[in-house]
Symmetry: C2
Subunit: 419 residues, 2 copies
């Protein structure tokens, strides 16, 4: 029996009417002859509510308890989706992570898949169940505790199931009808892409385009999972949405494919750090241990010589998700107290955003950075930090300029047209 994976995000299952709408899409695929694994997110807003409670209770929370709490939203949707399908005469049942079981590492709140054994689901498909509704975002650790994959993890769950069950396709149903050159809510000229390369999608996802979670795209690329992003709220067929695929399948030749942004950034600067070999490791080791996802790193070498620092000193700046500032601060202050790092001050700026341009064409085209900086300068946007990779350029700017910057860059690279 051919098998499809269909994933519905939070807004697609936000209430009972939407769950029903999603279930109708599942039923149609069953009627076409597919067995279906449905991956569901929590109802829109639920995970935020749960995360809020955890953070209010315990700012430096025990990630095992965080996972136990926040995973509950997906369990609710999975049960409701199974019930909705049953009402439509589609034989379905729900699966929580530990029931599959979805085996992951013990890295709570950022767990990685170890194994998704097929036995239990295959047995139910063999019994005549047409649909397995699986709670996304969660798994179970070797110690038997509930883990989660990090925000947006349901996409990753979907791709992992598509790979494990050799699904014909992995359809990600969401509140947008595909991947756009940028967020249409910010730039009205944004244009839907028919296709996008895994690699570009990866940069867009990790830079905050919010359509697909980074790791889901990595996983899709590694296992060559046909990944499609499409709308839950429209009638869709096999040509709808945006296909995420190999680079060679894409004919468009724009230098820049899209403009991404992220609001949830914070900039942290260690002022007057003693500069010596190993200082970067001394700083970023404790941050990694504390589970801080450091993104951009800039070191300003300055040959200032302060009395308290006999050697040369430097300022070290990095960015991380805004909700990890507390634990980053604690890790750095602990390291300072232990004497493993020496610095004068820790300056935190939580009023920043990251804006990036992405495109495979950048590999063979010079001048992208110049165009980008010129466009930002023309609108008076000051750049605080710059980071580049082979196919993207990112800047950290004041958050209040974020929308302006996205629009300016979309115009500068003429993304509203396909060629």
């Amino acid at each position: 029996m051919p098998l499809l994976v269909m994933k519905f995000g939070g807004t697609s299952v936000a209430d009972l009417a939407r769950i029903k709408n999603a279930a109708q899409k599942v039923k149609r695929e069953v009627e076409r002859g597919y067995d279906v694994i449905v991956i569901v997110s929590a109802m829109s807003g639920k995970t935020n509510e749960l995360v809020g409670w955890v953070e209010q209770t315990s700012p430096l929370f025990d990630a095992r308890e965080y996972d136990a709490v926040v995973s509950s939203g997906e369990n609710v949707t999975a049960g409701l989706m199974a019930l909705t399908l049953q009402e439509m005469e589609v034989p379905a049942r729900s699966w929580q992570g530990w029931q599959v079981p979805i085996r992951t590492t013990s890295q709570h709140s950022a767990a990685r898949f170890l194994e998704i054994p097929r036995e239990n689901l295959d047995a139910k498909f063999a019994e005549g169940f047409k649909v397995a509704v699986v709670a996304g975002f969660q798994g179970v650790s070797p110690e038997g505790r509930i883990t989660t994959l990090g925000r947006g993890g349901s996409d990753t769950t979907a791709v992992a199931f598509a790979a494990a069950f050799a699904a014909e396709r992995c359809d990600i149903y969401t509140d947008v009808d595909g991947v756009y050159t940028t967020d249409p809510r910010i730039a009205s000229k944004a244009r839907k892409l028919e296709k996008i390369a895994y690699e570009e999608m990866l940069e867009l996802a990790s830079l905050g385009a919010k359509v697909l979670q980074t790791r889901s795209v990595e996983l899709a690329m590694r296992y060559k999972v046909k990944l499609r992003v499409l709308s839950s709220f429209e009638d869709t067929d096999e040509t709808s949405g945006t296909l995420v695929c190999d680079e060679e399948d894409i004919m468009e030749s724009k230098v820049v494919s899209g403009v991404a942004y992220s609001r949830d950034e914070a900039k942290m600067t260690l002022v007057t750090v003693e500069d010596r070999p190993g200082v970067a490791a001394a700083i970023f080791g404790p941050l990694a241990e504390a589970g801080v996802n450091v993104d951009m790193i800039v070191q300003n070498i300055s040959e200032k010589d302060y009395g308290s620092h006999p050697g040369s000193v430097t300022d070290m700046t990095f960015s991380c998700p805004i909700n990890q500032v507390a634990r980053a601060r604690k890790a750095l202050e602990d390291a300072k107290a232990e004497g493993t790092i020496v610095y004068d001050d820790l300056v935190v700026d939580t009023e920043v955003a990251k804006v990036s341009v992405v495109g495979i064409g950048m590999r063979s085209h010079a001048g992208v950075a110049a165009t980008m900086f010129k466009a930002l300068a023309a609108d008076g946007v000051n750049i605080k930090v710059i980071a580049t990779s082979e196919i993207k350029i990112s800047v950290l700017i004041d958050r209040k300029y974020m929308e302006l910057a996205v629009q300016a860059l979309h115009d500068a690279f003429a993304l509203e047209t396909a060629n």
Copy 2:
């Protein structure tokens, strides 16, 4: 190490401030030298929200999915409570039913305990954890699916853990400061009882007093668990609340101890049932299979002889929880369609309530029924169904008279005074 079980109901963990308040009570017991098993309910209103979603999705729901959905509320509270205790430097972790594992039967939504193995929790206590926070109301079936114990099941979970771990006491923290002669919200003269016999509590609980779940009291009686009901919202000590204990420990000698009521009743009447040996079994067998909790049953033998029914006929009336009417109706209509029951009509009255007087003293005192009926008649309350047991008398009446009836009976038996 002496061990306490402390159970906090929905209103006691309704928000983060209340969870913190509850955690402080736990911490105090830890400081007194106890290991503590904390059983938590869902935050007030959460289970109702989940049940509402399930019922809207599927009126004749698959109970396995119902359980998977509604059990999630307790998991949230368990995690938040563990985090709150950790913030207070009390070593704690949360446990979901399948992690303990709390083994139950497969009777979904009304599962019964099979076994609560001590190994996993004992191992953690041995490691230095002082508190195990266990999600109430839930368990896991032999098939590995999530089960629930029925509404209010967290009380039963608490008593079962108290029995399994030989706890010194099982304290049920709730939104009232003890067990009253009736609901003080209905009768302002209601009086708090210092002690109440297991058997009386059992009748009060099953009759809708809502302070403790029936099965928790049964279980406490069987295992002689010292059960105490007390308020989460007051400063409490070892003499607070109401102790549920053996009959012989009670000196009070009132004939009637309390007046209980239940709003969630429906009355169903099968009109003109063919009356033959086995007809009751033919009716109540399918209802039991459909999971309908039939409560009161009345059969009016009438020697009417209709053309369509050559033998004698009868009307059969029973009551059941109002939310089981849909499945009761389906079971009866299916049985009629299959020809196993013959009846003319099925009349459902969902506008009824049950009011009961309870007291161990009734065993040795005549005239309680007469006093009860006279009091109701004096206030113009018509009685629809009567049922009696050794220590209680229950009547089904129009729901609109319920408060009036409770007050009249409380006065009639002078329950506002202790002697």
